[in-house]
């Protein structure tokens, strides 16, 4: 179980971390860190950038822990911080310039978007490859909608765009994923037992 929204952190541990107890902060780091890093890598692709955003997100977590009221699980609150930071990066002029350097005018494939996590199964590897073929924005939309459970309205708000932007991005991303996953499925069907 590595999705942030499903990670439970006890109120007592949060209270101790809020009081500045380093052991409690370290325990929270170990508890939520893997999911935060996985999410940032999914959204931005590039490992070095994901590390920076991960560091930033975790620093904000401990700085603002005093503001956390516990109305929603800590993971949801933290996910919002991480997603906001990743989307800020994806919208930044620096990121857009970087993409242009890497791939010229071709918006379809970005070399930096290498597979994100070490896949533990053949199917996961296929998904990783297919995700890597998406543009960063399309990947973020499909991930937020299908995996993190965001609605089109929430995604539109996050990107500062319309609901139809979110829907069209998702539709195109799924079409591309279908395309990317199809040959592998055919190959599997033909594999002799």
């Amino acid at each position: 179980m590595s999705r942030l929204s499903e990670i439970a952190i006890s109120e007592e541990l949060i209270a101790r971390a809020r009081d500045g107890e380093e052991a409690a902060q370290a325990a929270i780091y170990r508890g939520v860190g893997p999911a935060v890093f996985a999410l940032t890598r999914r959204l931005v692709g590039n490992r070095a950038v994901a590390e920076d955003l991960f560091q930033d997100t975790m620093m904000v977590l401990f700085q603002r822990l005093g503001d956390f009221r516990g109305e929603a699980p800590l993971g949801i609150w933290l996910r919002q911080i991480a997603v906001t930071r990743c989307l800020m990066y994806l919208r930044s002029p620096w990121h857009r310039a970087r993409l242009q350097w890497e791939s010229g005018d071709d918006d379809s494939l970005h070399p930096s978007m290498a597979p994100v996590t070490p896949a533990t199964s053949a199917d996961a590897l296929d998904i990783e490859r297919a995700l890597a073929s998406l543009t960063p924005v399309a990947r973020a939309v499909v991930w937020l909608f299908e995996v993190e459970g965001y609605s089109h309205e929430e995604i539109a708000r996050l990107f500062g765009r319309s609901v139809s932007f979110s829907k069209s991005q998702l539709s195109r991303a799924l079409a591309r994923l279908r395309q990317g996953l199809a040959p592998q499925e055919d190959q599997e069907a033909c594999t002799p037992i």
């Binding site: 999705r3 860190g33 893997p34 996985a38 490992r47 994901a50 533990t120 995700l131 995996v147």
Partner: protein
Amino acid sequence: MHTDIDERNIARRLRAAGDESGEVPYDWAEFQRRRHRSMLTRVIERNRPAAIAAAVLAAALVTAVPFLHSGHERKPPIASPDAGRLRQPTDLQEQARTRALEGWLAGLPQDHAIVRVGAHAAVTSLQDQIAALDDLMSAERVEGAKPTRLDALERQRSQLVNSLAQVQYAEMLASATP
């Protein structure tokens, strides 16, 4: 219909990928180290304008001191006959260093992207003082001035060039600061 099934299948596979266990890029100790470094960097960034202002002030003081001293019309110290010969290599090094600094200064863009009044005034003033010294040294040489006098003027010029380089460098740093 087929598309719907595909999409549901893809969504299921994506969620399964989301459940794959990950790991943190580095442990708690490394996180703490980076956290402290980041906080330190922020403090430095916050205080950078003050540091630049201090550098400009220091450069202005360095510039002013030789001129305050020269206003007292002190007699040049009596040098032993060997002193000029012994100091020669150091003087040559100093002159070479000054020439290198002048080369660096000549390579800087002539038009300042952002003109900060304080620094700009300091640069102009220093450039004027160097030019005035160059004129004076030429005149002294023509009139056959003593080597000690020329040495003193040369040292004064080196100090001015040093100060100019410091101010220009501080200005360059300030321009690069977002």
